[in-house]
């Protein structure tokens, strides 16, 4: 996210709009939509209290770029009641549960969904698809 320095002005002038378009269309389109979903969950949970930090669990299969999410979050909450709330990411590595041999293990390589123990492709993702708000700090 080089060259982008959040937080941004809440009222979008032409510069802000250009930034938004750039962020939305190029750099962080995915993270921006995630940030907006996040802000909704956090706002409801906070019930009007000031939010200092948000603990988010992110699985490695969700293709989230942490720096992009941090910038998208700053942009999303800028000028809202959540402005200043810090995002704390807990990353979750991928685990595959194998139906053939019954083991649960890390994949043999990134984006390989075969069992690392017996090689079967009959696996399901046991961890790594998380994208959840774990908790919030208010004060």
């Amino acid at each position: 996210m080089g060259g982008i320095s959040p937080p941004l002005p809440a009222a979008l002038g032409s510069f802000g709009l250009t930034w938004a378009l750039t962020a939305a269309r190029v750099a962080a389109v995915h993270e921006l939509s995630i940030a907006r979903q996040l802000a909704g969950v956090v706002s409801r949970a906070a019930s009007g209290r000031r939010v200092l930090a948000v603990q988010v669990r992110v699985g490695h299969l969700r293709q989230v770029v942490p720096d992009s999410l941090a910038s998208a979050w700053s942009f999303t909450v800028s000028g809202t009641a959540l402005e200043g709330a810090e995002l704390e990411l807990e990353e979750v590595a991928v685990l595959l549960a194998c139906r053939a041999c019954g083991t649960t293990a890390a994949p043999p390589a990134p984006l390989v969904f075969d069992c690392a123990v017996c090689g079967s492709s009959d696996t399901s993702v046991a961890a790594g698809e998380e994208l959840a708000v774990v908790s919030i700090d208010v004060g």
Binding site: A45, L61, A70, E86, E91, A132, V134, S135, I136, V138
Partner: protein
């Protein structure tokens, strides 16, 4: 697993997990089914009960700071609305297909060919997600029983995907009782649409020959989210250096159970397999 905290200056550090602070266990919570009255003043770090592995040592935080357990998938609200959409489809005995792809892969072309082939026998409604224009909706109107256009460009920039509330809004423009099948043409994008349930019964995607063999590995979330993967623009195969075996192998690596259909929406080659699959889904 380390606990990574990212700070505004870009630094990341991990905490160890000392839990020597005192707790006050008034509220029993079962992990995963956590409901709470937000008016209740939860004890400091009471969320520790949910899963001790989750929380770092924050005992140095200032007094008055409280941690509140939330444990909610960030798409939970969207998914609730998606379930409501699905219930509306079910009540009207309508099958709903969410069709996704990159821009220009041929979503509208495939829908046009589908309407031409099935439009006489099957009452098809189209939900058209388009950032700014009605162009695609106009292309599809001739063969469709009903079309509902969603322009997503009303905020700044435009949405890069359809979500369940948007589709709920689009459904207000459709008479589901008069339909058998709703095809949702999502916004052209291989990333965000994969994340948002909209109430469909099945997700399908198109990848086209001109996009390259590596796309399944670059967009695994999308390729893993679907039941059917259409490889479109097969009529261009003689003019391109596409390694079909590699493309199929890459698809199989990230989604071994996907049904893969090679076709050309332009020439009609391979359309039979797609139409047969659609008819099977309609009968199911």
């Amino acid at each position: 697993m380390g606990r990574f905290h990212r700070h505004d200056d870009g630094t990341v550090h991990s905490h160890d997990h000392s839990h020597d602070h005192s707790h006050h266990h008034e509220h029993g919570h079962e992990p995963g089914q956590h409901t709470h009255d937000l008016q209740v003043q939860h004890e400091y770090l009471e969320a520790h009960e949910v899963d001790p592995e989750l929380l770092g040592d924050h005992s140095s935080y200032e007094t008055g700071r409280q941690r509140i357990a939330v444990l909610e998938d960030i798409y939970a609200e969207n998914d609730r609305k998606a379930a409501a959409n699905r219930a509306a489809f079910d009540a009207a005995h309508v099958t709903c297909v969410n069709l996704m792809s990159s821009p220009g892969a041929g979503k509208t072309a495939l829908l046009e060919a589908t309407l031409a082939a099935l439009g006489q026998d099957v009452r098809i409604g189209i939900v058209e997600g388009d950032i700014e224009t009605p162009l695609d909706a106009e292309r599809l109107r001739p063969g469709a029983a009903q079309v509902s256009l969603l322009n997503t460009g009303h905020g700044f920039g435009g949405e890069c995907h359809l979500d369940a509330p948007m589709v709920a809004h689009a459904l207000e423009g459709l008479d589901l009782e008069g339909l058998d099948l709703v095809m949702i043409e999502n916004v052209g994008n291989l990333v965000c649409p994969a994340e948002f349930e909209v109430g469909e019964h099945v997700k399908a995607m198109i990848t086209s020959l001109t996009e390259g063999e590596d796309k399944p590995l670059k967009y695994p979330v999308m390729f893993r989210s679907v039941e059917v993967i259409v490889i479109n623009k097969m009529d261009l195969a003689p003019y391109l250096d596409v390694d079909m075996e590699l493309l199929r192998r890459n698809i199989a690596q990230v989604n071994p159970t996907a049904k893969v259909i090679e076709l050309s929406a332009r020439t009609g080659e391979g359309m039979d397999t797609w139409l047969e699959w659609l008819r099977e889904r309609l009968a199911a």
